[in-house]
Amino acid sequence: MEQQFDTSKIGMWLFLATEVLLFGGLFVGFGLMQARYPQEFIEAHEHLQRPLGALNTVVLLISSFTMVMGVNAAQRSDKKKLVMFLTLTIICACIFLGVKYFEYSHKFEEHLLPPRWYHAQATDTVRDAQGNVSHGYGTFFAFYFMMTGLHGIHILVGIFLLAWIAVRANRGEFSHAYYTPVDLVGLYWHLVDLIWIYLFPLYYLIK
C-alpha cells in the first residue's frame, strides 16, 4: 500500500511537471509578446477589472485551503468533514467560474478579442499612419483568452474530479489507510491554484 501510494504520487508529480510546461509555453509566448508590444499590453490590461481578479484569487486560495483540509480529514478517516470540505471546494470553483463568465461576457460585449475580431477602443494610442490600431491589443486578448481559458478548462476538469471524489468519499471508500485519489486530486487542484497565482499579477496587475 505504502509502495503504491508513493508510486502514484511520483506519477502525479510527473504529470504536474508536464502541466507546468504546457502552461509554460503560453507564459513564454506571453512574455515575448509583451516585450514586443509593451505599450499595447499596458493599455489593454486596463480593460481587465482588478477587483474581480483579486476576488477570484481569494476564492481560489480559499478553495485550496478547503482542499487541503479535506485531505487532512481523509487522513483522519473523518468521512463527514471530508465530504464537507470537498463540497466547499466545489462551491469555490463554481464561484470562480461564475466570475470568469461575467468577465468573459464583458470582454465579448466590448469586442476585446483576438486580433481578427478586436475593435479599437478610444484609449488605444498605438496606431499606424492610417489610424489603424496596432495588432498588439488583439494579441493581448488572444493570450488572455487562451491562458485563462486553458486554466478554466482545468477548473472544469477539477470540478468533475472533486465531485467524483466526493461521491466516493460519501460511500465511505476512503480512510487513513487508503486515500490516494483524494491526495492526487488535491495535488491537481493546488497546481491549478498555483498557476492562477501567476496569471493574476501578469494580467491584472502588471504595468
Partner: protein
C-alpha cells in the same frame, strides 16, 4: 497535532498550519494588489512576480506537502520550473538581441499576401477598427 486517530505517517501539517498558510497567502494577495496601485516603474513586474513566487512556494510547500514529502517529488516539481526557465531564457536571448533592420529605400513593410487562416479572412484586413457592427 493529530493524535486523535490512529497515528499515520502521511499526516503532516494539520489545520493550524494550513490556516496560517491561508492567512499568509491572503495577506500577500492584499500586498500585491496594493503594490500595483503604486508606480515603481519597471519594479512593478519584479515585485508582482516576486510575491507570486512566494505565494506559489507556500502552496507547494504546505498545501502540496512538499515540505514533508520525499525529495524526489520536489526534484520533479523543480525540474518542471527549471526547464521552463531555460525555455524562457534562451527565447529572450534571441528576442532581446535582434536588430531592427531596414533597407535604405524603406517605404513601409510590403503587404503580406495569402489567406490568413483557414477561414479565408480577406487579405490585408489589418484594421478591425474599421469594422462596424
Amino acid at each position: 497535532m493529530s493524535t486523535q486517530t490512529h497515528s499515520d505517517k502521511h499526516e503532516h501539517g494539520g489545520p493550524a498550519v494550513y490556516t496560517k498558510t491561508l492567512l499568509a497567502l491572503l495577506f500577500l494577495t492584499i500586498v500585491t494588489v496594493g503594490a500595483s496601485y503604486v508606480d515603481f516603474g519597471s519594479g512593478n513586474v519584479v515585485i508582482a512576480l516576486f510575491i507570486a513566487t512566494i505565494k506559489a512556494s507556500l502552496v507547494a510547500l504546505f498545501f502540496m506537502h512538499l515540505r514533508w514529502d520525499k525529495p524526489v517529488n520536489a526534484v520533479i516539481a523543480l525540474a518542471g520550473f527549471l526547464f521552463l526557465g531555460i525555455f524562457l531564457m534562451f527565447d529572450f536571448i534571441d528576442f532581446g538581441a535582434r536588430d531592427n533592420l531596414r533597407p535604405v529605400n524603406f517605404n513601409g513593410m510590403p503587404m503580406i499576401q495569402g489567406a490568413s487562416g483557414a477561414s479565408g479572412a480577406p487579405a490585408a484586413a489589418p484594421a478591425p477598427a474599421e469594422k462596424k457592427e
